[in-house]
Amino acid sequence: MKLLTLNFLTCAIKTCKTSPASFPLHPRDAELEIIESEINLPFLRNILPRLMWEEIRVIASELGLPSLPTTPPTREDLVEGASQAQATEQAEGEAVAEVEEVPSQTAKDLHRILLETGIKEGKLVCGNCAHEYKVMEGVANFLLPGHLV
């Protein structure tokens, strides 16, 4: 399960959802896997404003991944020499639009952590009720036992 998913997940128990402690879920005993994929700049740019950055930093640090910068990257940060390209575009008009955008190191790092890094086996734990959800073969299971439904 790619880490980006955690940005949109909380505890499945209704009474937990209103508690801030239920988000994000905390990985435990996680075995990570890397599934390489082609970087998609427009996708990263689109998803950027939706990221709960502070929470993603917490997850990354809990997983022992390299620490993320304290402030989220901007859209411009994702492209190599973005400010330069903008200047040229103004001067030459449409000709520049055909130049392929080159992903910056920031974009590559973001792609690596959100889309290529995944939890293969382990648990996701709610910070409010401590319920554990299992991740098996890369799929997280949120079905609740009968007494919790």
């Binding site: 949109f8 799929v139 009968g146």
Partner: protein, 272 residues
């Protein structure tokens, strides 16, 4: 077609759906998935209408055939069947998890859109169907949050219709709405497999949107019937206007609704 005898208490309903819906899909997952590849037009249109970068939820995503329709959005799919969710994880860059429509693990008011395709009709009481719709609407951004004034998130909900007298099933107004529908799982034999491929198109033409095989039409002569296994799935067939009523009761507002090939569908938002 057998009439379904549904229990009327909540615990009983859960057990009933476990036996007559969840466990069936778990067992037929791979075969079911192989027959589900073509997106339905209304669903495709809805997905393609979403703004670039929109984030959506596909509640009851099955094999994930809708995840990849619009490459400019990101969708988290969920399904009650682990085997189907596992198949759905293949659709990069989207995600798929195992979850129950009535206990969804998503923060409320987060999604730009949601789809629920052929799912709500599997819940066995009126109250549980309304609860399922409520759970879907709850995921959506409220109208105040939407980027365009007063829009908010939208959900597309799709259910099987009672009124389908021209379909292979032949149900129509006045018929029993709670039914058991068979799914025939063929024993894997090379010869039977081959024949099935040839017949798939034929079956698609005649069948409703659901398109599953019927024992009578698709029985290859060479296959021994004893080796086939028939599973019965519970369905509540929706009457005209019933989906809209469920949505209103769940606190939603119907923006658009209609009928497409044996199914009722509606696009809904949360009330202001």
């Amino acid at each position: 077609m057998a009439t379904a005898m549904t229990p009327d208490d909540s615990q009983g309903s859960q057990r009933y759906e476990e036996e007559h819906v969840h466990s069936v899909y778990e067992q037929i997952a791979s075969h079911f998935s192989s027959t589900r590849y073509k997106p339905w037009p209304i669903v495709e249109r809805f997905l393609k209408e979403q703004q670039d970068g929109a984030v959506g939820a596909d509640i009851g995503c099955g094999n994930g055939k809708y995840l990849a329709v619009n490459p400019r959005v990101y969708i988290v799919g969920s399904d009650r069947s682990r085997n189907l969710a596992q198949i759905a994880t293949q659709h990069y860059p989207h995600s798929a998890i195992v979850a129950d429509n009535l206990s969804l693990p998503h923060p409320a008011s987060t999604f730009d859109f949601a789809i629920s395709i052929a799912v709500v009709h599997h819940l066995s009481t009126p109250a549980r169907r309304v609860e399922a719709v409520e759970a879907i609407l709850e995921l959506l951004k409220s109208p105040q949050q939407g980027e365009v004034a007063a829009s908010g998130g939208k959900a597309l909900i799709y259910v099987w219709a009672l009124e389908q007298k021209d379909s292979r099933r032949g149900w129509d107004e006045g018929h029993e709405q709670d039914v058991m529908v068979p799914w025939v799982l063929k024993e894997k034999k090379e010869k039977a497999q081959k024949e099935r491929k040839g017949r798939r198109k034929e079956a698609k033409e005649g069948a409703g949107v659901e398109g599953e095989k019927s024992a009578a039409v698709n029985q290859p002569e060479s296959a021994k019937p004893a080796e086939d296994k028939t599973f019965l799935r519970y369905y509540h067939l929706y009457k005209k206007g019933e989906l809209e009523r469920d949505i209103t009761e769940a606190g939603g507002e119907v923006v658009e609704s209609g009928y497409e090939k044996d199914n009722w569908w509606a696009i809904a938002t949360r009330k202001q």
